[in-house]
Amino acid sequence: MAKSDLIGGTLWESYSGKVNDRMLHPRHLGEITAADAAKLGARLVVADWGAEVCGDAIRAFWAVQDGKILDAKFKTFGCGTAIASSDMMCEMIIGKTVDEAMKITNIDVERALRDVDDTASIPPQKMHCSVMAYDVIRKAVSEYKGVDMDSLEEEQIVCQCARVSLRTVKDVIRVNDLRTVEDITRYTKAGAFCKSCIRPGGHESRKLYLVDILAETRAEMERAAEKSGQQKSFAALGLLQKHSAVEKVLDEKVRPNLLKDGGNLEVIDMKDADGFTDVYIKYLGACKGCPSASVGTLDYIEGFLKSDLDPKIRVLPI
């Protein structure tokens, strides 16, 4: 919510000039007949996507010769955005190969419809209408190649409008420790447009919803944290167990390096003091009298104990 949200009804004002123009004067509207295609020496591909009962339906006609799209036309039952997107989609694929066409997404179509580079051509809630243009390309490619449509998609897509994959959503939650769907949207743009992918009950039903992915990923993260938490609850341990934990870290990470230089250390005593765990050590071998024993080496040892066990560990050489 913000000042700009307090006045309603700006839907049509948000359309770019190019969108308005193509809504009224589509360049590639119509059909390609078998005879038209034959005249071009091309194969006719007809692909249907959507259904009028769902509010959006588009039929694409392609004339394809040796993998190259010579001509493209469309018919659509849909709002003005669907008309403009379909028209721009045709324009963008004419002259391209089928494989090149498949790389064009709804985001490219939306960009091409912009008047100014940094201003979206259609309002967020209409972005799903442009997805139709992308879907019908894939449908036409699958018709042309005689393969299943799903086999054309490399990644599982959660947000169709912004083309955000399941992997990206999960990664961004983990890496940035995200806790809300709004955060996911801020980081990835997933859910910023038609909002269908946020939770059930939106524009369209989906296989995957951001709320579920978030809950699952958070649960996975918590399970992982719990696991490492078991190793890390150092502060709660008694001195005897603290001592064996310290010895374990020293054996695994510190002593091998000291030994390489002919040195070593032993733990003389351990005390809990002022909320800290003090570890009293005695240097052995080459470490004894080494100039860095009270500076660099000490920091090195303390660093391992702090990161692996508890930041509140102090190492005191005797």
Binding site: L29, C54, D56, K75, F77, C79, G80, I83
Partner: protein
């Protein structure tokens, strides 16, 4: 370009006589009616006249209340939240019965009350698009039902509900009955003596009054817990300084609307029917609900093969303002609940276009609108894959 306004179920033009009547209350008669001095008291006669007009308009008795609110949404919220507070929260009753086709001012308030523990039953409409007494009878219970809230006329279809029978049924069973009469007042006779409703909401701007003012009729002796607590305005039932200008405006608008009811039934209906005949002469065009069962100003039409928002965009381009229940224009792609509840072909749910007239609509405007609609249908059908040839 002269624009043509056919969206009078959304809002209406202010009657110029109403505008004139409100004029003195900005800079001359600006006193607070709750003040003791003459600035305050001198507005009382005007307020009294406005209340007289509102009471007369819906046939309320002097012992009843008509609370002035900010809008019909506030009126609806007042009733629903009061019933939750007094009857449901306290465990005296548990359920609210309403319909699947209410305006969001009722349905979303009900959804909110569900989160507060109320049970809400959303009744489906029958094939004629209304809820009748037989349907309602099966879903009310004197021990459980706290309130029945059913609209007088539907905003999308204009279909009129049998409020008299519904309210009588509730009265016989000791159940409170509320009706959102926003789309009925000024279009059809509304009489709270003939139809024994307990609460009734209406809004000034739907009958050529100002926006930002509504009212809630409360039958004598019924308890209302205020939505807005504050001063002693409206007898303590609705706090907040009364917008005297708007109250005066709504009062006159009510009187003018009631005077115009015969005109609505003859002239407005005649123009509506002319428009409807022209629509129906186009192949693949349907109109929802029979003419006799609707408010005289409303047409909800479905044009096969033409998506609703594309249609109103194209009409707007030609200077004709209409509205769509089409999902593509709203936040949800779910088909219009009124269409779904009426069990209509769901393809229709994306083709709906609503045209609503008023007493200010002229015959010349209707002729121009007919030409514009024909042109839009023809153009958009060339684009559609399922066009009717």
């Amino acid at each position: 370009m002269e624009r043509i306004y056919l969206d009078n179920n959304a809002t209406t033009i202010l009657d110029p006589r109403v505008k004139e009547a409100m004029e003195p209350f900005w800079c001359q008669l600006y006193g607070n009616p709750n003040s003791l001095h003459t600035f305050g008291t001198e507005v009382h006669p005007y307020m009294r006249l406005a209340f007289d007009r509102l009471y007369a308009g819906i046939h309320a008795r002097d012992a009843d209340d008509i609370l002035i609110t900010g809008c019909a949404t506030e009126s609806n919220n007042t009733v629903l939240q009061s019933v939750w507070y007094d009857l449901i929260r306290t465990g005296k009753r548990s359920e609210i019965v309403t319909t699947q086709v209410e305006h969001p001012a009722v349905s979303n308030t009900c959804r909110f009350l569900e989160t507060m523990g109320a049970k809400v039953i959303y009744l489906p409409v029958n094939a004629a698009g209304i809820v009748d007494a037989q349907i309602l009878k099966r879903h009310i219970h004197p021990d459980r039902t706290a309130l029945v809230s059913i609209m007088w006329a539907n905003n999308e279809t204009g279909l009129i509900f049998p409020v008299k029978e519904l309210a009588t049924l509730c009265r016989e069973n000791g159940i409170l009955f509320h009706t959102d009469a926003v789309q009925a007042v000024g279009k059809v006779p509304v009489d709270v003596q003939d139809a024994p409703v307990d609460f009734l909401s209406f809004s000034g701007h739907k009958f050529h009054g100002p926006k930002g003012v509504g009212a809630l009729y409360v039958r004598k002796g019924l308890k209302i817990t205020p939505l807005l607590h504050g001063g002693e305005q409206m007898g303590g039932r609705r706090g907040g300084t009364v917008n005297v200008a708007f109250l005066v405006g709504m009062g006159l608008a009510m009187e003018l609307a009631v005077e115009s009811l015969p005109h609505e039934q003859t002239e407005v209906r005649r123009l509506r029917d002319r428009l409807e005949d022209a629509l129906l002469s186009v192949e693949g065009v349907a109109v929802i609900g029979s003419r006799e069962d609707r408010t005289p100003n409303t047409i909800l039409t479905s044009v096969k093969g033409v998506e609703g928002e594309a249609m109103i965009w194209d009409l707007n381009r030609q200077g004709v303002a209409a509205s769509t229940g089409s999902a593509c224009a709203s936040e949800s792609l779910e088909p219009n609940p009124t269409f779904v509840a009426m069990c209509l072909d769901s393809e229709l749910a994306h083709t709906g276009v609503r045209l609503s007239l008023s007493r200010f609509t002229t015959g010349a405007e209707i002729d121009e609108a007919i030409a514009a609609i024909r042109s839009s249908v023809a153009r958009l059908r060339t684009i559609s894959p399922s066009a009717v040839s």
